[in-house]
């Protein structure tokens, strides 16, 4: 699944990421395109709380592509 939250102000990039993660089918990864620097930190917190690994790549000037994928549960 992909969402594009460019141009959005705080806290919408993080809020929409959270909503998308809740809808995300099992086994799929979520790709978030954002140009809002603080949302990188907020999404990192969300990923940590919900057990997703987070990969950040620069996708042009002041834009980032974040890939979130569910981590394997170790019991």
């Amino acid at each position: 699944m992909k969402i594009d939250v460019r141009g959005e102000i705080c806290p919408y990039p993080a809020k929409k990421t959270l909503e998308a993660l809740e809808r995300l089918p099992a086994g799929e990864t979520l790709e978030v395109l954002t140009d809002h620097p603080p949302s990188l930190e907020m999404i990192r917190i969300i990923a940590g709380q919900r057990g997703f690994s987070m990969k950040v790549e620069e996708a042009g000037a002041g834009e980032w592509r974040i890939t979130l994928s569910k981590m394997e549960r170790v019991l």
């Binding site: 141009g7 705080c10 919408y12 809020k15 603080p38 930190e41 709380q49 057990g51 000037a61 019991l75």
Partner: protein, 354 residues
């Protein structure tokens, strides 16, 4: 601020939205540093605080209903607009169109507040007490009381965080320890052993705030905005006239007149310029326009609420909170509590704004 993503709005909002205290911890650490620094400066400026006077430029102001209402409105406004007065200023430097709209809203709100100021002054503010801790218990006691309060706030943040979802603890590399006791142990490690970007930001701002006070006055923002708003209104014949009692108040009480080049002006322009330079260096600058028109309405409405709230509260997240608590004055705590309540309501409100 631009580098550490330091944000007063997120500090309050994310406690409720994400149960995350990352920013609030930075804010608390910054205030703790400034508390000690301000205490030493004020003890220098006014060696005997028990005689009734208050140290010059300390952000000590009357405590009352106006402060609670101001903080509440400001808290709702900053969450709706996505940034407070200082946050909007540095986002303007990063290129956010919505933050320029919020800035216009803040000036408008301050203009309205100036027109209703005299009523508030006569009804509440004039008779409200100024509670400045050093006058009651001396500097040592006041610093201890303030630091104890900040520690209490910090523990409260840890307690809120310990209620967050626990998924991370099940994984090989836990992101943060869970549970209240483990978090308290983590506090020691974080303060004394590891760096933390929001805490680093808070520490730097706390130290800078102390330097600002040694130069002239603590960090403040909206006192200057109010001067701009009222100067603009006066240009079109809508000036607020005389603002009763403001010469007896400190910090960011509403202002008129004054010269063009003031410390406040240079501080605000510097914050905007510093953010612009920092964003440019980091390749993070870019004009950003929201595709959702509702955002501009939110920014304008939030700005107006913040402006009016800051007028009543005699300051914003900076002047009436971040600089007021280290000024060892009760008004900073009351405004902070009201801000938290407002941010909670604002966060609830966001659920209905897609």
């Amino acid at each position: 601020m631009q580098r550490s993503r330091f944000c007063f709005t997120a500090a309050f909002r994310d406690l409720f939205m994400l149960k995350s205290g990352r920013n609030m911890k930075g804010v608390i650490v910054g205030m703790a540093v400034a508390t000690v620094g301000f205490g030493l400066i004020m003890a220098n400026l006014l060696p005997n605080p028990t005689l009734g006077a208050i140290a010059p430029e300390a952000h000590a102001n009357p405590v009352g209903l106006h402060l609670l209402l101001g903080g509440l409105l400001f808290g709702i406004g900053m969450v709706a607009a996505g940034g407070c007065t200082s946050g909007s200023l540095y986002r303007m430097g990063e290129g956010y169109a919505a933050s320029w709209v919020a800035f216009a809203g803040i000036l408008g709100g301050l203009g309205v507040a100036s027109h209703t100021w005299n009523w508030w002054w006569r009804t509440y503010i004039r008779s409200a007490p100024i509670i400045w801790f050093p006058r009651e218990v001396g500097y040592g006691g006041a610093i201890l009381v303030t630091l104890a309060g900040l520690l209490g706030g910090y523990l409260l943040v840890l307690w809120i965080e310990s209620g967050a979802p626990v998924a991370a603890a099940d994984f090989p590399k836990p992101v943060t320890p869970r549970g209240f006791a483990a978090s308290v142990g983590e506090l020691y490690a974080a303060v004394f052993r590891r760096g933390w970007s929001a805490i680093t930001g808070g520490l730097l701002l706390g130290i800078l705030n102390v330097f600002l006070y040694t130069a002239h006055m603590p960090w403040r923002i909206v006192g200057e905005y109010a001067r701009w708003a009222n100067a603009l209104l006066s240009q079109v014949g809508l000036g607020p006239g005389t603002l009763l009692g403001t010469d007896q108040l400190s910090g960011c009480a509403l202002r008129t007149g004054g010269g063009v080049l003031t410390h406040g002006l240079l501080l605000n322009v510097g914050l905007f310029g510093g953010s612009l330079i920092s964003a440019l260096l980091a390749h993070e600058f870019k004009p950003r326009f929201s595709r959702n028109r509702l955002r501009y309405a939110q920014s304008l409405g939030g700005g107006l609420l913040m402006g009016y709230g800051a007028g009543l509260g005699m300051g914003c997240t900076v002047g009436a909170f971040f600089s007021a608590i280290p000024s060892l004055a009760l008004n900073g705590w009351v405004f902070g509590l009201a801000l938290a309540a407002g941010a909670y309501l604002g966060t609830r409100l966001l659920r209905y704004l897609p």
